[in-house]
């Protein structure tokens, strides 16, 4: 019998003291200014890039000019919402046939502030993907854990 693991979405929310249009612009156009360089899959991380349109690419640029895909922009609705496809598998490799969704909503708060809600969902698809290429699982975990260890230290 196969057990399907369906983890809950990762849901995060943060208040920023700027209006939604500004929050949206910094999240998207300025993603290269804040994306943590530790959260890179290429190894020579220069900056993150998010193309400002539905169907645009979401990727990282390396110091040598090469690019590593992360996924695509599914929906582009400034200043209230952007929906991204995170297409990195459990091994932090780009997988064209894997789509997990990252939805970011920009909700006006009082006094010109914005509540930014982020939901990373369909995480169970990572498991389905892992099942299909199960031989990679054992190689994949050390990379995940290295990231994990870095994040908690």
């Amino acid at each position: 019998m196969t057990t399907t693991i369906k983890p809950a979405p990762v849901v995060k929310s943060i208040i920023v003291k700027v209006p939604p249009a500004r929050a949206f612009a910094v999240f998207t156009a300025d993603i290269g200014k804040w994306w943590p360089s530790t959260h890179s899959i290429g190894g020579k991380f220069k900056e993150a890039v998010l193309e400002p349109r539905a169907g645009g690419r979401w990727y990282e640029r390396e110091t040598d000019g090469s690019e590593c895909d992360w996924g695509k922009v599914i929906a582009w609705e400034p200043p209230s919402r952007v929906l991204l496809a995170w297409q990195l598998d459990h091994n932090f490799k780009y997988a064209a046939d894997l789509v997990t969704e990252v939805e970011v909503r920009f909700i006006p708060e009082s006094a010109g502030a914005t509540r930014v809600e982020l939901e990373h969902r369909n995480l169970e698809r990572l498991g389905e993907h892992a099942e299909r290429i199960s031989g990679m699982v054992s190689r994949g975990w050390p990379a995940v854990l290295e990231h994990y260890a870095a994040a908690i230290s």
Binding site: I5, P7, A8, V10, K12, I14, I15, V16, K17, V18, R22, A23, V26, F27, D30, K33, W34, W35, P36, H39, H90, V116, L118, H120, L123, E124, L126, G127, A130, V137, S138, W141, P142, V144, L145, H147, Y148, A149, A151, I152
Partner: protein, 103 residues
């Protein structure tokens, strides 16, 4: 959902994180972990049972020994990592958004 929450709770303890990371590097028995960590063998056993209940580690018998490893089919660790990842990323984002807004 219960699994993901228990996984996060399980990894909230420093000693359990250390045990988990050691098992990620290589499977081990209770005794080996107790030798490498500044905690007693019964304490290691207790931590392992919490990690196992959270779906983070699996155990198999090799003769008389019980060998613990991380559970490659559990998504708990990956989800926990993503949870932490987005927390850090959003904090960076907030700092940048508010920095740009400042005169």
């Amino acid at each position: 959902m219960a699994n993901a929450i228990s996984a996060l709770a399980a990894l909230g303890d420093q000693t359990r994180r250390e045990i988990f990371e050691r098992l990620a590097r290589r499977p081990a028995a209770v005794g080996e972990l107790a030798r490498e960590l500044p905690v007693s063998r019964p304490a290691v056993s207790q931590h392992l049972s919490v990690l196992k209940a959270a779906g983070l580690v699996a155990v198999r018998n090799e003769g008389p020994r019980r060998i613990y490893s991380i559970d490659p089919h559990g998504l708990g660790p990956l989800r926990a990592w993503l949870d932490r990842f987005w927390t850090d990323a959003l904090e960076n984002f907030r700092a940048e958004a508010e920095r740009e807004e400042a005169p």
